[in-house]
């Protein structure tokens, strides 16, 4: 057995182990003290209010988790989107509000059926509304999802997950029809479109916080705490490294 690791891999592994310890400590903390105070995220507050309005009107809510899949690079973003979908499906099941969800990849489609099954178990009945498998091509997906939103007369459009330029197509078509729109993704090239398209947006890592905010799941809350602590640690390391390099203590 040969440990074929270069320096960056070793540093990465060490940081991952530190993260693991922080995650475990945060889990214990959440168990002992309960939920930590969370800063308000306007998009998620808007999502709750928009869902309430949809429940009152009985009109459908459309959820898109983007064009990512499970098992590839954008798995984490897709999982974040699925957490939001799970919440919306659960609300749809409790209050009999139609939930429409559209998918570009079969792996996320299967996960969506699972989310609906869990919502049905929680709420007693499956939420009305369909699950659509559209197309793996980004543009074709955006065109199809836009038609679903139009034909089914959705009141709210939630787009949280892994998106590319198709976000702009779908987001703008939604805005032009006056449909309430909540968006979020992680790709820095797409974030300007997210910001410009909607007033209710989650930028970058904020999409990973959605699960903790919406479900109050202890694991998700612990993960949020661990991420904040790890970010502080990395910021300190970057500043210390910068000072040491400026002073000539470390080279490279």
């Amino acid at each position: 057995m040969d440990l074929a690791m270069d320096l960056s891999q070793k540093v990465g592994l060490a940081l991952a182990l530190v993260f693991l310890l922080l995650l475990y400590a945060s889990r214990l903390e959440v168990k002992a003290r309960g939920s930590p105070p969370l800063r308000p995220l306007r998009a998620l507050e808007s999502l709750r209010r928009a869902l309430n309005r949809a429940i009152e009107s009985g009109k459908p809510v459309h959820v898109s988790i983007g064009t990512g899949s499970i098992g590839e690079r954008d798995t984490a973003e897709s999982m974040a989107g699925l957490a939001v979908l799970g919440y919306v499906e659960e609300q749809g099941s409790y209050y009999r509000t139609p939930v429409l969800s559209t998918f570009a990849t079969p792996s996320t489609l299967v996960a969506a059926y699972d989310a609906r099954r869990k919502a049905t178990e929680a709420g007693g009945t499956p939420p009305p509304g369909r699950i659509y498998f559209l197309a793996p091509q980004k543009i074709a997906y955006a065109a199809g999802a836009s038609e679903v939103i139009k034909d089914e007369e959705a009141q709210v459009n939630v787009m949280i997950g892994s998106f590319g330029y198709e976000y702009l197509l779908l987001g703008e078509m939604t805005e032009h029809r006056g449909i309430e729109h909540i968006g979020g993704t992680t790709d820095p090239r797409v974030l300007p479109f997210v910001y410009a398209s909607s007033e209710n947006y989650l930028l970058g890592e904020e999409i990973f916080a959605a699960n903790a905010y919406l479900s109050s799941n202890p694991g998700a809350l612990a993960s949020l705490l661990a991420q904040d602590r790890m970010r502080t640690l990395l910021a300190v390391l970057i500043v210390v490294g910068m000072i040491l390099k400026s002073l000539g203590v470390i080279g490279g």
Partner: protein, 205 residues
Amino acid sequence: MKKVIPTLVAFITGIIVLADFLIYNPLLDQVSNSLLNWALLVAAFAFIVGLLNVLIVHFTRIIKRERGWPYSIVLVLAMWLVIIFGVLDPRGPQGPIVSWVFRYVQYPLQATLFAMLAFFALSAGYRAFRRQTVDATIMLVAASLVFLGQAMLISEWGKWFAAIKDWILSVPTVAGMRGILLGVSLGVIATGLRLLLGMDKPYAD
């Protein structure tokens, strides 16, 4: 037991694939590759679920005469035509009929929609600037300066705008992008660790 076994399977699979990235061992390599191939097989089966979903959704639309139902007929027919010709042709998707459909129907339609992106970007930008917030103003000023820098003005001002554009793109933009990517990476690692440790069990409820 119903929860323990899937969690254990996920944990062991995750650890093996992760260890294969860090440790060189022929046996570990073989096991890891087999596991990844199994994942591909499972993903391929998910396409059958996708196919069934398309058929059920569109047959329901046709039977109930829902809004836009004639398009559903076109969709189902086109889907079967492509599948049948793709399966019957020994060259598969590279066969002339399937290639023709992609080259002369799908790609032009995609290109048409793609061409509209510039207009959508403009209208989204205009709406963002109308919000009159501090961040929208910063975005407007930065976008205008980059635009002027790209315009390659011939006068003396052109050099200044080009220098400002280069500074915007290489300093604040890169700094912001790195900050975002750092946060996203932490989120991705946290999601992976939660799944690996069984803190999230999307497969076991």
